[in-house]
């Protein structure tokens, strides 16, 4: 009874049916119907009628639909049943007793080769041994009858028969791992700006790689110390991003328990959780900036001088005169560079709320990478601006610091000059502040996945890269001639094996 049930469950036709059904259902989930979207998205794209159909037939999430899961379970059952049902007899054919002497039946088979030769029995025997070796056998058994008949039997590749068992075990191990992962697995992402931390991820909607509304709390915090980009060292492709990296701390109960750099293709593991580098972007702020401080009056002097010279140049009458003015302009340019080089340098860092300069405390109120259009920051278009609060002569006022001198001077004249603050500041150099997109996943059972798939690969290799083969040879002496019979059996690739035998024997007899 049990045997019968097992044999029905493990029926090949049924199994093949499952496989093809799974294949066809997989087609549904992997074309243009985007998986794991919300109902509203389908409604907008396909209209109410089709959206309802998609929703009711689980076409929005084929791979997690009940019918898909059911089929996988059925496959697992079929694999187990088929193995129990069929393996014992396969084992018996491979390792059971086998007649080593060529039987009458084998001898009469149409595929059996029959050759008569005049050569003596010893020579024929030696030739047959070499022949067996040529077609890939490593050992042979010889039976010499008293009647003068000699039987040779060779076998190889018995282990190939185990391939089916090994493969099926691998499939089951794999499916168990996949089941554990699909039940207990968590996957989501979080964007963390540099020098900030987070202790949650936004979980992906089932069936998609897009975060939904659900939040999953992590048992630890991730603190992003630093984020940076690597570029290709190439003239032609300067600026092409090679990789990106986040230096992170994992904090549990207020203590740093792990530190490491997460790179693309190099995740970090912690307690079964895997942290991947998946994306990045700019927060729209400056991470740090070099600010140069100069005296407003001196700057204005230089500007006025240059305007004067430029005017003179425009009105210059002869070449000699204009060459002289041009030289003066060049000198002035050099002076300007020197002037800025000699200016006091101060540094702004995102984490620091104040900048100290000459005993003055400048409190940072606001800052941006592009005050005109913040959206352009993602395309590397910058117009940075920093606004600080200054206390000077008992008065408080806001001072804008820009990178563009024209903007800077205009802003100074409007907001700072009335307070007689003698210094003007410019942003010389700055670094954008990034956020890093980290994917965090927790998939118990992954080890089983690897063990299972490795077993499947080895099992299929065993099944297909080795072949179970047997050769029986009979040499008999009828006085005048020596009769040689060669029969063969090959579990698969019979045609090419028989062809090989026919080809090889030609060079012997």
């Amino acid at each position: 009874m049990l045997k019968k049930i097992v044999s029905i469950l493990g029926n090949v036709k049924l199994g093949v049916g499952y496989l093809i059904a799974l294949a066809l259902l997989s087609v549904l989930g992997s074309t243009y119907i985007k998986q794991g979207e919300t109902y509203v998205t389908y409604y907008k794209e396909y209209g109410e009628f089709f959206a309802k159909i998609i929703w009711m037939t689980y076409l929005n999430n084929v791979f997690h639909a009940w019918y898909y899961q059911l089929l996988i379970v059925l496959v697992a059952v079929a694999v187990i049943a088929a193995t129990i049902d069929r393996f014992p007899s396969i084992y018996k054919t491979a390792y059971g007793k086998v007649e080593k002497k060529m039987t009458e039946g084998l001898q009469k088979k149409p595929s059996t080769i029959k050759i008569s030769t005049k050569e003596d029995i010893k020579t024929v025997f030696d030739k047959m041994v070499s022949f067996l070796q040529d077609i890939g056998f490593k050992k042979a058994e010889v039976i010499k009858e008293n009647s003068g008949e000699v039987y040779i039997y060779a076998e190889k590749g018995r282990e190939s028969r185990l391939g089916m068992l090994v493969t099926h075990i691998g499939i089951v191990v794999f499916l168990v791992g996949a089941f554990i992962g699909s039940v207990l697995g968590v996957r989501g992402q979080i964007e963390i700006p540099e020098s900030e931390k987070a202790d949650y991820i936004r979980k992906y909607r089932e069936g998609s790689l897009v975060p939904g509304d659900e939040i999953y709390k992590l048992p630890f915090e991730i603190y992003v110390k630093r984020f940076w980009l690597d570029f290709y060292d190439s003239k032609e492709f300067a600026g092409a991003v090679k990789s990106y990296n986040s230096d992170i701390d994992i904090i549990e109960n207020g203590k740093v328990v792990k530190n490491g750099i997460v790179k693309v293709n190099e995740p970090i593991d912690y307690n079964g959780y895997r942290i991947f580098q998946t994306s990045y972007g700019k927060t729209g702020e400056m991470k740090e900036a070099d600010i140069v401080v100069v005296e407003y009056k001196k700057l204005i002097d230089i500007i006025e001088k240059s305007q004067l010279l430029n005017n003179q140049l425009a009105q210059a009458k002869d070449d000699q005169n204009s060459a002289q003015i041009e030289k003066q302009l060049r000198d002035l340019q050099r002076q300007t560079v020197e002037f800025f080089n000699n200016g006091k340098k101060i540094k702004y860092r995102f984490n620091e709320k104040s900048i100290f300069f000459d005993g003055n405390q400048l409190t940072v109120i606001n800052q941006t990478l592009n005050y005109k259009n913040p959206a352009l920051v993602q395309q590397d278009v910058y117009d940075p601006l920093l606004i600080v609060k200054v206390s000077y002569n008992g008065k408080e006022f806001n001072m804008p610091i820009a990178a563009d001198p024209n903007v800077g001077i205009a802003a100074y004249e409007r907001f700072v000059k009335p307070y007689n603050f003698p210094y003007i500041m410019f942003i010389e150099k700055f670094e954008p502040r990034y956020f890093t997109g980290l994917q965090v996943s927790y998939f118990p059972g992954t080890t089983l996945i690897w063990i299972g798939t490795v077993i499947v690969v080895l099992g299929t290799m065993l099944a297909f890269y080795t072949v179970h083969r047997r050769v029986w040879i009979k040499i008999s002496d009828n006085g005048q001639n020596r009769e040689v019979y060669i029969a063969s059996y090959s579990q698969k690739f019979k045609e090419s094996f028989e062809e090989k035998i026919r080809e090889t024997i030609k060079s012997y007899l």
Partner: protein, 373 residues
């Protein structure tokens, strides 16, 4: 009296000869590679174009020898195919070195153009091996035209060498991609011989070719072209999806009618047993490698994409192909399927493979989308 004898390696093939030949080939390939690189004028694209041209000549020779059974022409065809293969080899090396010189080294199998050069290279290598093993050139008459077409048509895509996106910079790129391409090559051979098997079967049964067959052949051929065009040039929406389904259906009917219309070819084909064995052998060789390729992809994804499996279209289609050929193997080994059933499953599996290769790269959005260009 019974005794066991251990067969010792008394004589073995002459390795010296093989060694000298390989040495000559390696020397030739590296010499040509060095020449192209040092001259600075011969780009990899030019070399691939030459290879495509040589494959084209070889294809014509194979077709000629198929119909006229000319042994000499057959030998020249094989030699030309080998020459084309050597040229592709040089092309692949040159492309690799060029990318190195640009400071963005990557192996030459990272985008659609490169894969269309790399895949025929692998497939021709595999084919030449099968030709040697089975001593038959008939597959070449089907196979080399496809190769020549792929290599020449591939130049319609972007041939520039571009830096790899960060996610692709991984040693898994070598293993995963090579394994998949061997799989592709093997399944393609399985398709070729299964299709030939179906023709041979019709020839042997001496089925009557009716006007219905010829009409169906012409009609489905035209419809394949029309819907193929609509599918390939349509917007990425449901309408194109429906066109795609119709395309697959008419393509299968086209192949069905072709097995009747091409019946006369059956005369020149080897026996059905050999054809079905070649198909099975090709699947048997490719299947473990395909499995390994999916596994290696999973291992890579577990380092780059956040999980070993994401139901990305390419992953899913690779699984679909796997399922089809798993079904094929079961049907063939224990299912006692008739040869025709398993041959049709192999044909269907090949169409799935085509979708996996082109369809996913070009049309289905997903994580593998960098392979578009």
């Amino acid at each position: 009296m019974e005794e066991i004898i251990v067969l010792k390696n008394k004589h073995r093939n002459n390795y010296l000869e093989a060694f000298i030949v390989s040495l000559l080939i390696v020397g030739l390939v590296s010499g040509l590679t060095a020449l192209s690189i040092l001259s600075g004028k011969i780009s990899n694209v030019l070399i691939f174009q030459i290879a495509g041209f040589i494959y084209g000549i070889s294809a014509l020779l194979y077709i000629f020898q198929f119909f006229f059974k000319n042994e000499k022409v057959g030998k020249i065809a094989t030699l030309t195919a080998f020459l084309g293969w050597l040229t592709s080899t040089v092309g692949l090396f040159v492309r690799g070195i060029e990318s190195y010189n640009l400071g963005i080294f990557h192996p030459p199998w990272t985008n659609l153009y490169e894969s269309l050069m790399f895949f025929p290279w692998l497939a021709v290598g595999l084919y030449l091996y099968i030709e040697k093993e089975y001593k038959t050139r008939f597959i070449g008459a089907f196979f080399l035209p496809i190769v020549a077409f792929l290599v020449i048509w591939g130049h319609k895509f972007n041939t520039d060498i571009n830096p790899l996106v960060p996610a692709l910079r991984s040693y898994w790129l070598y293993l995963h991609v090579i394994a998949s391409f061997i799989g592709y090559a093997g399944f393609t051979v399985a398709f070729g011989s299964s299709f030939a098997y179906l023709i041979k079967e019709n020839f042997k049964e001496d089925v009557k070719v009716t006007p219905l067959h010829i009409g169906g052949f012409i009609l489905s051929g035209i419809m394949s072209l029309v819907f193929g065009y609509l599918t390939l040039h349509g917007a990425k929406d449901i309408k194109t999806l429906i066109f795609g389904i119709i395309f697959v259906v008419v393509l299968i009917s086209f192949l069905y009618f072709a097995t009747f219309v091409l019946k006369p070819i059956g005369k020149a084909l080897p026996t059905e047993n050999i054809l079905s064995e070649i198909a099975f052998k090709a699947v048997a060789i490719s299947f473990p490698i395909w499995t390994a390729s999916i596994m290696l992809g999973g291992a890579w994804a577990n380092e780059a994409w956040g999980s070993y499996w994401s139901w990305d279209p390419k992953e899913t289609w690779a699984l679909i192909v796997w399922l089809f050929f798993a079904a094929y193997i079961h049907g063939k080994t224990i299912g006692k399927w008739k040869g025709k059933t398993s041959a049709w499953i192999a044909v269907a599996g090949f169409i799935m493979l085509l979708i996996c290769y082109f369809g996913v790269n070009l049309y289905f959005p997903g994580l593998h989308s960098y392979a578009t260009e």
